[in-house]
């Protein structure tokens, strides 16, 4: 089995920036980039589900999320990073070199050994956990507005959530839908001021404040959403044909439970830099960041992890 200097788990802005930097440092990184999915847990990460990214420095006219990720991927490859499209299924951080198993390599033998590990597995969009949500996924329930908005032309649909991603999705969906109702459990949005202003100025966006979604209705496709008012407990069915879920994310850290220190919400704990509680294991991006969660902060922390790895390997080599 091959032993690498560094293996990177994940291929969003954090993982790929770490790949660019470690590749340029001649560490020949192996990026286990994840496997295709229709949620944010996929090669390229959350930006694969976005359209226009307006706040990434260097793109005054904005850039498409998937294009940005393809560009960073190309940059990593140019400097010699190896990328494999599979997901890590197990890690052993108790002995060194660390061992990583993948879906492609199977359960029996680890796919690779590595001296240093960079964890950049990101965050996964949360689902509501409703009785009929899974059954109707792809039949009106969607986790990807950019993929599925097209199918709801001139229809009335709903977005559940109150943060930036919910409002961004709602605004994107107004390009297609007749009305987009934002269902939010409170009486104010968490989204940034600029996004709120855009939402309130758009006459296709309607607000359903103080409401929680109880279930999705429909036999073969969505015909409505049952909501409960949190102020008086009354229930009603909103007659919508689509429900887009944007209620936030949880870190993809279950692979490391019991091996890395996680906080109560599951984020990997890093101290001062990208270092985790296991020497030689570094974390970057949304799997360790519940505060900023931006493409640019993920990329920045990926750079930090790469430099931390380089120094750690160097120090270890000299320590004999």
């Amino acid at each position: 089995m091959e032993t690498r200097d560094v293996v990177i788990l994940g291929s969003g802005p954090a993982g790929l920036t770490a790949a660019v930097y470690t590749a340029r440092a001649d560490l020949r990184p192996l990026v286990i980039e994840g496997e295709p999915s229709s949620t944010s847990d996929q090669p390229g990460g959350q930006l694969m589900l976005t359209t226009e990214v307006e706040n990434f420095p260097g793109f005054p006219d904005g850039v498409q999320g998937p294009e940005l990720m393809e560009a960073i991927r190309g940059q990593a490859k140019r400097f010699g990073a190896d990328l494999v499209t599979t997901r890590a299924t197990r890690v052993d951080l108790a002995s060194w070199p660390f061992r990583v198993w993948t879906a492609q390599g199977g359960d029996a033998e680890p796919a690779v050994e590595t001296k240093a590990l960079i964890v950049a597995t990101g965050a996964q969009s949360l689902m509501l956990g409703l009785p009929n949500e899974g059954r109707l996924l792809g039949y009106g329930v969607s986790t990807c507005a950019t993929c599925d908005g097209f199918f709801f032309r001139d229809q009335d649909i709903a977005v559940v959530g109150g943060g930036d991603s919910a409002v961004e999705e709602a605004l994107f969906l107004t390009k297609f839908a007749r009305t987009v109702t934002i269902i939010h459990r409170r009486d104010a949005l968490r989204a940034s001021k600029i996004m709120q202003d855009r939402a309130f100025a758009n006459d296709r966006v309607k607000m359903r404040w103080n409401a929680v979604v109880e279930d999705v209705i429909g036999d073969n496709k969505v015909t409505g959403v049952r909501v409960r008012d949190t102020t008086d407990g009354s229930e009603e069915v909103l007659p919508v044909t689509g429900l887009f879920v944007a209620i936030g994310h949880e870190p993809n850290s279950s692979l490391f439970t019991g091996q890395l220190d996680l906080d109560a919400a599951g984020y990997i704990q890093t101290a001062g830099s990208s270092a985790t509680n296991v020497a030689g294991v570094f974390a970057c991006g949304d799997v360790q960041d519940h505060v900023y969660r931006q493409a640019i902060t993920a990329a920045g922390s990926g750079c930090m992890a790469a430099i931390d790895v380089e120094r750690w390997l160097d120090h270890r080599a000299h320590a004999g």
């Binding site: 090669p43 039949y139 993929c147 097209f150």
Partner: protein
């Protein structure tokens, strides 16, 4: 998006399904769908490995909305495997190769 997979459209879809002896997997996709792009190399790999057992094709929903509507595609990527011209199994959302092969195996 350049692809080694055959592209079907509203005009050629029915005729092609009738004329093909092996099960036909149809990938409903579009240029603006990130997960669809990541799925394409996986489908090309499956097509190469299963030559003679399955034909993998693509329908661009932007160009061929009629076919997408007929099969009530509301999310992409959606994969539908047709046997003898009829839908045998439907897979919604992008997946890794091993999972797709597992999902398709009972129908091949």
């Amino acid at each position: 998006m350049a692809s080694e997979l055959r592209e079907l459209n509203d005009a050629t879809f029915d005729e092609h399904l009738v004329a093909t002896d092996v099960p036909v997997l149809v990938d409903f996709w579009a240029e603006w769908c990130g997960p669809c792009k990541k799925l394409q190399p996986v489908l090309e790999e499956i097509a190469r490995e299963q030559t003679g057992k399955i034909e993998v094709t693509k329908v661009n929903v932007d160009d061929s909305l009629e076919i997408a509507r007929r099969y009530e595609v509301l999310s992409i990527p959606t994969l539908i495997l047709f046997k003898d011209g009829n839908p045998a199994v439907r897979i919604v959302g992008a997946k890794g190769k091993a999972r797709l092969v597992e999902d398709l195996a009972p129908y091949l």
